[in-house]
Each structure stands twice: as structure tokens, then as C-alpha cells.
């Protein structure tokens, strides 16, 4: 009887040892926090980027994780609310133990997150918020994966110059994206000796933008640049059509969204849009197919590519020896710092944005990943759909 009891106790002890060893043998998952607008004005961008991140994370997890560690994504909706976004970022860092933070499609919310990221020393992988001063000068923990306003502006100014336009009218909304974008475009045009004949601002929720469009018409520009959010962009183009304006028009990347094209209707026909996603690239096509299978068909927006690029870069940096050592030692603050350092020391990361072979480049003094003149492909809206822009025909409209 005593022997049987001893055998039972031995078996129980062995079982509990095995059970106890379980969690420490399988490495703990690493948390990535995604905080962005998922339900308000910039929700399409926020959700596209989030799903891009999800595709990259799913790929890594399916391949066995990073050194055996699975990645867990925690997601919060910051809406277009800077204070809420900051609170949720803090929650992701402190309560969820996020190794890195993703988000940043809302320019107004980014400065607060940059302050938190630099203060708590957590890498922040930012998407499309384009204000130049986020990366100029760079701050230690902020890394941007989308184009900056000055890069957008340079692309617009180059197109205007190459097309031979001399008089530019700018219409933009009163949000940071519109204001900063318009001022960057005006500066870029000035360096090319091109005159901005009128610059009009409207309130984003105005039902009618006729006064601003009227002033633009009266200035007689030979090309109009519109820097809006999706719905108000639709209103501007409809009003332009209403006032019989047929001037060639360049519009910000928001025209990549379905919302814009539906709201603008036929008034959007012929407008050209800068996009960083070249759907002719085989790797881009493959990723978008994978994306569609997991999250449904979406227009090939740069927001998807930014999310994917950002997450791939983060996963590569996470595989750095020092990051893994800190994670093994359960030293999360050290792992975050090591990850930041890895972003700079690795420096070059593959990118689905720009032309084939384009790469993201980070260094100690540069946290703006996209570089160079090969970032943009021009899309054109026709019949509510996006196609490749015919820039010769665009120039010929002058």
C-alpha cells in the first residue's frame, strides 16, 4: 500500500514538473500594439494599415514566430482623438507590455505618441501621418514608413513642372494634413519657379465649398492641386464640376479610397493621384492577393503597404540578437531599446512601396524610411476606378 502511494506521489511530482516546465519551454508571445483611427474620418487608412500589419504578423507566426516567439497584436481605436490615442498607447505599453507601437495615420495624434514613445523608450512605427517635422529632425523612437509631405510635394511639383504648368491653384482642408501638405507643395513649387496663384482653405465638414472653388476659378490657374480628406475631396471636385472648371487636377493620396471616388462620382474622372504602390510589381501583387484572401478585396492603397512594410521591419529588428537576449531575460525595457538600435544598425529593409527594388533606409540621423525619387507611381481616376495615369495626356490638357 505504502509502495503504491509512493509511486503515485512520484508520478504526480514528475507530472507537475513537466507541466510547470511547459510555459518556460515555449517562449512567451511578444506583443505589438496597434493604435490608430479605426472608426472615424481616417478609418479606411487605419484599417488598411492594421490589416497590412496583420498579414506580416500572420506570416511570421505561421513560420514559427521569431526565434520561437509568436507575435500577439493588441489593437485599440484612437479615433481622430489625440488625447484618446495617447491614453491607449500608454495602455498598450504599460498594461499589455507592447514591445513596439504601430499606428500614426492621423497627423494630429502623432505628436503626443512621439512624446510618449521617446519618454518611455518604445519604438513607434508610424504610417501615413505626413508632417515633415515628425522626422525632421528625427527623434530616437519614431520611425516613419509612409512618404512625408515634402516628398508628396516634391512629386506634385515635379509633375507640374514636367507637364509645363505655370499657374497653380491649391485647395486644401483646414486639418493638419491639408495645411501642412499645401504649404509643402507651395514651397516645392517655389523652388521650381512655379507660381501659386491662389491658395484656398475650407472647413472639413462644410456642406458647400463653393466660395473657395469660386476664388480658385477666378485666379485662372492652369492646374489645380486639391489636398483634402476623402469626403470633402469629393465635395470639392463636385463643386468644381458645378462651376464648369475643367482645369487638370492633381489630388492627394486620399483619392485612393473608395469613399472619395463614390462621393466625387464622374467629377473625379481624369484627376491624377500619387500612390506609392506599383501594382505591376510581382511582390506587390502577391502580397495584395494574400491580403485580399485574409481581409477582403481593397483598392491597392499605400496604407496597406505601409502597414506591411512597418511590421516586416519590426519583425526583422526583433530577430536581432540583443533584442532576443533581452526578451529571454524578460527585460522588456531593454528589448525595446535594443529594437530601436536594431532599426538603425540594420538600416535597410525591403519595401513594397515605390518602384521595384526600392528599400526603406534608416540611420541614426534619419528615421524617414522612404527615400529618393522612385517612390511614386501616378494613378488616374476613370469611371470610379483607379488606373495607371497617362501623364502625357494630363500635360496635354493645359
Amino acid at each position: 500500500m505504502k509502495r503504491t502511494r509512493r509511486m503515485w506521489l512520484t508520478a504526480l511530482a514528475a507530472a507537475s514538473l513537466v507541466m510547470g516546465a511547459g510555459p518556460s519551454m515555449a517562449a512567451d508571445p511578444v506583443v505589438f500594439g496597434y493604435i490608430d483611427d479605426l472608426s472615424a474620418l481616417v478609418a479606411e487608412a487605419g484599417n488598411d494599415s492594421l490589416n497590412g500589419v496583420k498579414v506580416a504578423v500572420a506570416e511570421a507566426n505561421a513560420a514559427g514566430g521569431v526565434n520561437g516567439r509568436q507575435i500577439k497584436l493588441v489593437v485599440y481605436d484612437g479615433k481622430v482623438d489625440a488625447q484618446l490615442t495617447s491614453t491607449l498607447v500608454t495602455r498598450a505599453i504599460e498594461d499589455d507590455g507592447a514591445l513596439a507601437i504601430f499606428g500614426g495615420n492621423v497627423s494630429g495624434s502623432v505628436p503626443g505618441v512621439i512624446a510618449i514613445a521617446n519618454d518611455v523608450k518604445v519604438p513607434f512605427f508610424s504610417m501615413s501621418a505626413a508632417a515633415d517635422n515628425f522626422t525632421s529632425p528625427s527623434t530616437p523612437y519614431f520611425f516613419r514608413f509612409g512618404p512625408s509631405n515634402s516628398q508628396d510635394a516634391a512629386a506634385v511639383a515635379n509633375l507640374v513642372a514636367q507637364s509645363g504648368f505655370k499657374r497653380v491653384g491649391i485647395i486644401n482642408n483646414s486639418l493638419p494634413f491639408g495645411l501642412d501638405g499645401a504649404s509643402a507643395i507651395a514651397a516645392a513649387l517655389k523652388t521650381r519657379g512655379i507660381n501659386v496663384v491662389t491658395s484656398q482653405v475650407y472647413e472639413v465638414n462644410a456642406t458647400d465649398v463653393a466660395p473657395q472653388v469660386l476664388k480658385t476659378r477666378e485666379a485662372k490657374p492652369d492646374v489645380i492641386v486639391v489636398w483634402p480628406y476623402p469626403a470633402d475631396g469629393g465635395r470639392v471636385l463636385r463643386t468644381m464640376a458645378q462651376q464648369n472648371i475643367t482645369t487638370p487636377t492633381i489630388i492627394a493620396r486620399v483619392a485612393l479610397f473608395d469613399t472619395f471616388r463614390k462621393l466625387a462620382g464622374d467629377a473625379a474622372n481624369g484627376v491624377v493621384v500619387p500612390n506609392t504602390v506599383d501594382t505591376q510589381r510581382p511582390d506587390v501583387k502577391a502580397m495584395l492577393d494574400k491580403f485580399a484572401a485574409a481581409h477582403g478585396q481593397r483598392p491597392p492603397t499605400m496604407y496597406i503597404a505601409m502597414g506591411y512594410d512597418g511590421a516586416k521591419a519590426a519583425i526583422k529588428a526583433m530577430a536581432d540578437r540583443k533584442v532576443l537576449a533581452a526578451l529571454d531575460a524578460r527585460n522588456l525595457p531593454a528589448a525595446r531599446v535594443a529594437m530601436r538600435d536594431a532599426m538603425e544598425s540594420i538600416g535597410t529593409f525591403d519595401s513594397l512601396q515605390g518602384t521595384q527594388g526600392n528599400a526603406l533606409k534608416f540611420s541614426a540621423g534619419n528615421h524617414q524610411g522612404l527615400q529618393g525619387d522612385n517612390l511614386f507611381v501616378w494613378a488616374e481616376v476613370q469611371g470610379g476606378k483607379l488606373g495607371k495615369a497617362d501623364l502625357k495626356a494630363f500635360a496635354a490638357k493645359k
Binding site: 479606411e44 462644410a206 473657395q212 476664388k215 469613399t259 462621393l263
Partner: protein, 292 residues
């Protein structure tokens, strides 16, 4: 001349939207002495249910319009029955009741998010969005319908308030609910009517403005704010004063945008509201309406 006509049309369009929200806020306020912070969300509900009935369910627009207004009326009824009335029965302060309506607004936004998702949606147009020229001014039937609806509603409300016994009852409840009860008026029914009627006006505004603004779950709060500005500027005492406030704001926005820069429109309008409150605390038309 062309420019002035365009500015007036633009000001009237924007102003009519603010005025519709403002007058619906004032209708509820006059009957219940409560600002219904969920009022702008009925504009959202109007826009989003138009998407649901006309696009998702593919119902004819004529049927969709009736269903949209029915849903909004039901929403107004629910707020009155399950937020306003229980709080008043417990002698809640007006501020508490207003917070109650704010809670309703948040619930409506959350429910809309679950139903329609986060993206901005294209709201099908009731009237054509193709340009037409009237007396040299180019507009769209949809845009003109906003102004026409506003004018017709104003006329209808005036008739209701000043030419019917029920209107007299509404005004009596607005002056003193307790005394009106002593006169045999069923004040609760009047308040319920005000909530339902205001919700219908909000839904109508959403139906008309949705094709321009795009349907979005968060669009209500901005419109509530604009409507509230209209109410403060025009005067809390009457729907007509609030509507006038909305039109003034719309015209000012257009004028400032054309002759100055729309960036300064809001500071100028808020400055005007502050000035009005100092000079005429009851609003631009508040005292005149109160005297009537």
C-alpha cells in the same frame, strides 16, 4: 453678381443644414428645457439608414425615405421614453438630463459603428447631383432641396405653432409645464412629440446632406455643435430664432471664405456669438421671439 449669387447659395446651403439642426434642438428645448445632445446623431441616423434602405436593401428611394423617417421617429421616441422621462420622473436636474441625452448619442454612435462599420459611406442621393442652371446660377437639385426643405419646414412649424391648438399647447408647455398641466394640457405628450418631431427633422437633414458629407458614424457630434452655435446665436427661445442663427452662420462662413479666408470663419463666428451674448444675452432674435 455671379459671385454674390454663388456665395448666397453656398451660405444658404450650409446655413440650412445648421438651421435644421438648430431648429430641431430648439424645438426640443422649448418643450422640455433640455438640450438634446443626441440631435446631431439623428442626422447621422438619417444618412446611414438611407444607405441601409436604399443601397443595402435596394428599396426604391420613395419607400426608403419613409422608412428612414420612421426609424428616426422611433429613435426620438425611445430617447424620450427611456432617457428623458425616467430622469424627469426622478426630479433630475436639466444638466443630468442633458448628460442622459449625451449618453444616448454615444450609444447611437456605438450601435451605428457595429451596424455600418467605420468607413465613410456614399449616401444615395434623393435628387439628382447633376448640375442645373437657374437664373445663371449653377447648382444641383439635391443642393436646392436642402434649402427648399428648410423653408417648407419653417412654414410648417410656424403654421403648427401659431395656427393650431396643438401648437398653442406646445408653446404653453414651453412657457410653464406645470401651469399648462393645470390647464388640461398633457405636457408629457407635447414633450414626446417634440422629441419625435425633432428626430424626424434630423433624419431629413441626414437624408439630404448625406450625399455631400458622406455617411459616417461620427458625423453627429460636429453637426450638434454647429446646431448649438445656431441656437445660441439666434436665441434659445424659439425654433425660428435658432434657424435664423443657422442661416447667419452659413452666410458668414461663405462671406469670410470668399473675401478673407475660411480658416478665420470659426473664430469670427465664435467672436460674434460672444459679442451677441454680451449685447443680447437671449440671442439675436431671442427677446423678439419671447415677446411674441
Amino acid at each position: 453678381m455671379d459671385a454674390i449669387a454663388i456665395l448666397i447659395l453656398s451660405g444658404l446651403t450650409n446655413g440650412s443644414v445648421y438651421a435644421l439642426v438648430g431648429l430641431s434642438l430648439a424645438m426640443t428645448y422649448n418643450a422640455s428645457r433640455v438640450i438634446n445632445f443626441a440631435q446631431g446623431d439623428f442626422v447621422m441616423l438619417g444618412a446611414m439608414t438611407t444607405v441601409y434602405f436604399a443601397t443595402t436593401m435596394a428599396l426604391p428611394m420613395f419607400v426608403s425615405i419613409h422608412l428612414v423617417l420612421l426609424v428616426c421617429a422611433a429613435g426620438g421616441f425611445l430617447i424620450e421614453r427611456f432617457a428623458y422621462r425616467p430622469l424627469m420622473a426622478r426630479n433630475a436636474q436639466p444638466l443630468t438630463v442633458m448628460i442622459g441625452t449625451l449618453a444616448c448619442a454615444t450609444i447611437m454612435t456605438g450601435a451605428a459603428l457595429l451596424i455600418w462599420g467605420p468607413n465613410q459611406l456614399f449616401v444615395p442621393n434623393t435628387f439628382s447631383l447633376n448640375s442645373i442652371s437657374v437664373a445663371g446660377i449653377t447648382s444641383t437639385p439635391q443642393q436646392i432641396s436642402i434649402i427648399v426643405t428648410f423653408v417648407m419646414l419653417m412654414a410648417g412649424i410656424w403654421f403648427l405653432l401659431y395656427r393650431t391648438r396643438f401648437g398653442l399647447a406646445i408653446r404653453a408647455v414651453g412657457v410653464d409645464p406645470n401651469v399648462s398641466k393645470l390647464m388640461g394640457i398633457r405636457a408629457e405628450r407635447v414633450v414626446a412629440f417634440a422629441f419625435v418631431f425633432s428626430a424626424i427633422i434630423g433624419g431629413m437633414a441626414g437624408l439630404l446632406v448625406g450625399p455631400f458629407l458622406g455617411g459616417h458614424v461620427a458625423m453627429g457630434i460636429v453637426l450638434t455643435l454647429k446646431g448649438f452655435m445656431a441656437v445660441i446665436l439666434g436665441g434659445m427661445g424659439s425654433p425660428f430664432a435658432a434657424a435664423a442663427g443657422g442661416i447667419v452662420i452659413g452666410l458668414l462662413e461663405a462671406i469670410v471664405a470668399y473675401y478673407g479666408n475660411s480658416f478665420y470663419a470659426e473664430p469670427i463666428i465664435f467672436g460674434l456669438i460672444l459679442l451677441t451674448m454680451v449685447v443680447r444675452p437671449a440671442g439675436l432674435l431671442g427677446e423678439w421671439e419671447a415677446t411674441r
